[in-house]
């Protein structure tokens, strides 16, 4: 900038925009590629509000969204009480899972890393399984008769389990230097907790097991309008923290040693990445269940579409793509025009597993 001082402001601006063009060209970054994603997200949001067991015309939805009343009171209720929370939950969860996957993949420099590898979903499962078993031991009627309260208890337990496992990972992460070691520890922690969950389930009553299984299926519909702000608070703070990390994340693409030599404070960066992951994943897992494959698949989809590794572009891209994929999965799970609802995890696995396979195959080809 210094040699530009003294030039007229317009000339300065022209010079800078010319330089930005050079940068854009040479780094292959194409920010305009975000626009189609944004348009797709808008369409999917509207579709998610319109489609369901009762189809509602588009103009009615817009009327309700703008604060008006639909032709039928029931439509207004459906939109505001059910479809809006569900749609917002799906979009938030998609963003959160996608971004947490991106953070982990960059930090561990492993294309298959995702937050669940660190044991967060196992921790949440343990919390849920503990509630299931204790209710079985204290008295069979405790949960079955409680309905909503039982749901809340399950959710709280899942959140506590997720937060606990994440704090454990945080504790270890401050001391352990290598990313690979942390990855292995996370995996082993997951197995350990998985075994405990199996043990608890083994001794649980059949109807409790059913409640647990239902949670593991995953769903965006369980979040009420009252719970939504809590989820949003966690997810948005996690996303903001991630946005503050784009520069260290870019440096980490060269590995920890190079990131450090580029002036990145490694210990703080590591802490911030795991904290962001905890914020993003624990609330989503507690409210929606352990949703598989979004964390792995979404960052790869975004990279494939945008063609860059620069997190300044990748982060918004992953947000948009994550919301789109989650909304898509929710739409498919509800099978519009049908009363049947498929488990969400079935759909995400069907969408996500092929992506993971493609990534693995492409990696093998790259190595050969």
């Amino acid at each position: 900038m210094s040699q530009l001082a003294g030039k007229p402001a317009a000339a300065k601006a022209a010079e800078l925009s010319r330089q930005r063009l050079i940068e854009r060209e040479t780094s292959g970054a194409k920010p305009y590629l975000l626009m189609p994603l944004l348009a797709l997200l808008a369409v999917l949001l509207l579709l998610s509000l319109a489609l369901g067991s009762a189809s509602i015309p588009l103009e009615q939805i817009i009327t309700v969204l703008l604060g008006g009343q639909a032709d039928h009171q029931s439509w207004t209720n459906i939109i505001l009480k059910f479809r809006l929370p569900k749609t917002a939950t799906a979009a938030l969860a998609g963003m959160a899972l996608g971004v947490s996957g991106l953070l982990m993949q960059t930090y561990f420099r492993n294309p298959l890393a995702e937050p669940f590898v660190l044991g967060v979903s196992s921790g949440a499962s343990l919390g849920v399984a503990l509630v299931v078993l204790s209710s079985g031991a204290v008295g069979g009627a405790l949960l079955a008769g409680l309905g909503l309260a039982g749901d809340l208890l399950l959710t709280a337990a899942a959140g506590a389990g997720a937060a606990l496992s994440m704090s454990l990972v945080l504790l270890v992460a401050v001391r352990v230097r290598s990313g690979v070691t942390l990855l292995v520890l996370g995996l082993m922690f997951g197995y350990l907790v998985g075994a405990l969950v199996s043990l608890l389930l083994y001794f649980a009553l059949p109807e409790r097991i059913q409640a647990y299984i239902n949670w593991t299926f995953g769903s965006f519909s369980g979040v009420t309008a009252a719970q939504l702000p809590i989820l949003a608070l966690f997810v948005i703070s996690g996303l903001l923290l991630s946005a503050a990390l784009v520069k260290p994340l870019n440096a980490l693409l060269l590995g920890e040693d190079y990131a450090r030599s580029l002036g990145i404070h490694l210990r703080w960066t590591r802490f911030a990445i795991i904290l962001a992951t905890a914020l993003l994943v624990s609330a989503v897992t507690a409210f929606c269940g352990p949703i598989a494959f979004l964390g792995i698949a979404v960052p790869h989809l975004a990279r494939g579409w945008l063609g860059v590794s620069d997190h300044r572009l990748l982060l918004p891209g992953v947000c948009l793509a994550g919301a789109c994929v989650a909304l898509c999965a929710a739409l498919i799970a509800e099978l519009p025009g049908n009363n049947l609802v498929l488990p969400l995890n079935v759909v995400t696995a069907l969408l996500g597993a092929p992506v993971v396979m493609l990534v693995v195959l492409r990696q093998l080809r790259g190595r050969a």
């Binding site: 530009l4 040479t26 780094s27 292959g28 870019n250 060269l254 580029l262 590794s309």
Partner: protein
């Protein structure tokens, strides 16, 4: 700015056992504008020394000073503005252009988003130009050769505009022209920009030709000095002695200790004589200083040139060095 060490001791801490000390009581100095070659056998601790100097690894004792300040106490960003590194790690990030890779070198100088000013772009372009890698800017890093990627890693370190650059075996995995080019580049950078460069390498010959000073690392510690001084006082030979390598003081290069065969005399100093001596050394013959039992020479006459082999009083002519060597072997075995 000068990089120096005060009673530095490097190595690894081990739980329940004494520390693995690789070198201790090091008092080293790296001056602005000089290219220093770090030489030593494998496993002697060259990488550990470089990592300790770059604050990537905590020393067992003593301090590393940048100017007057302890490297370990500097904030990461401030350290990165003064000291850049090229390590042996060979990252191949996907979906990253050469330009974007060099851009990372501006990190210690940019804001939290890593936004680049026109000045930053100028420096990146200069760094790419300096390593003769301008044409790599648009190419994906993952598809480059080792040599091209190494160029970009050095350009990235240059873009950091540090006072000191540490390189850990930057010429490993490169072909000979690339190695010569890289060392020449480092020498030129040290001369022209005042950058202090420390480079560890196994290319003894290139280090001897290009470095202003050498740090010879052996079990006994580190001996510093000009290459020629270290050659003449025998330090160079001593450092690599254990490896079964012999430093030829006259020719200024290393050879393997294998001259167990009979002595052969080669007369003259012309080009044919030089290559004849190389061939004999390679084939395991010792060279003698005066005419003796066996003598090889180059003959020029009206019909062309030939190689004459004399063993005692039997003389034979050969069209090529290869043929002469074959005859020599047949007769002396």
């Amino acid at each position: 700015m000068m990089l120096s060490t005060r009673s530095l001791s490097i190595g690894y801490r081990r739980r329940g056992r004494p520390d693995a000390v690789l070198a201790e009581a090091l008092d080293l100095r790296l001056q602005p504008g000089e290219l220093v070659g770090l030489l030593g056998p494998n496993g002697i601790g060259k990488s550990t020394l470089l990592r300790s100097l770059g604050a990537m690894q905590r020393p067992l004792a003593g301090r590393v000073l940048l100017g007057e300040r302890d490297v370990a106490r500097l904030k990461p960003q401030e350290r990165a503005r003064r000291l850049s590194m090229v390590t042996t790690a060979a990252p191949r990030p996907r979906l990253m252009s050469g330009y974007a890779l060099v851009t990372l070198g501006r990190h210690p100088h940019t804001d939290w988003l890593g936004r680049l000013s026109a000045e930053d772009h100028k420096i990146i372009a200069w760094a790419l130009q300096a390593v003769k890698g301008a044409e790599l800017a648009r190419q994906p890093v993952a598809e480059l050769s080792d040599g091209q990627r190494q160029k970009l890693m050095i350009a990235r370190a240059l873009a950091q505009q540090s006072d000191i650059m540490l390189l850990d075996e930057p010429t490993a995995f490169l072909d000979l022209p690339r190695r010569i080019e890289t060392m020449a580049l480092l020498k030129q950078l040290a001369d022209e920009t005042g950058l202090a460069i420390l480079v560890s390498t196994h290319d003894l010959d290139l280090a001897l030709r290009n470095c202003d000073r050498l740090w010879l690392m052996s079990r006994a510690g580190i001996k510093a000095g000009a290459p020629e001084d270290l050659a003449l006082d025998g330090s160079l030979g001593a450092t690599f002695h254990a490896e079964g390598i012999h430093f030829d003081q006259r020719r200024g290069s290393f050879t393997l200790d294998q001259s167990a065969g009979p002595g052969v005399y080669v007369a003259g100093d012309g080009e044919p004589a030089i290559w004849l001596r190389r061939a004999l050394t390679r084939a395991g013959y010792a060279l003698t200083d005066r005419s003796g039992r066996i003598e090889l020479s180059h003959q020029q006459n009206g019909r062309g040139s030939s190689w004459q082999l004399r063993i005692k009083d039997r003389i034979s002519q050969h069209a090529t060095i290869e043929a002469a060597l074959n005859e020599l072997e047949r007769r002396t075995k």
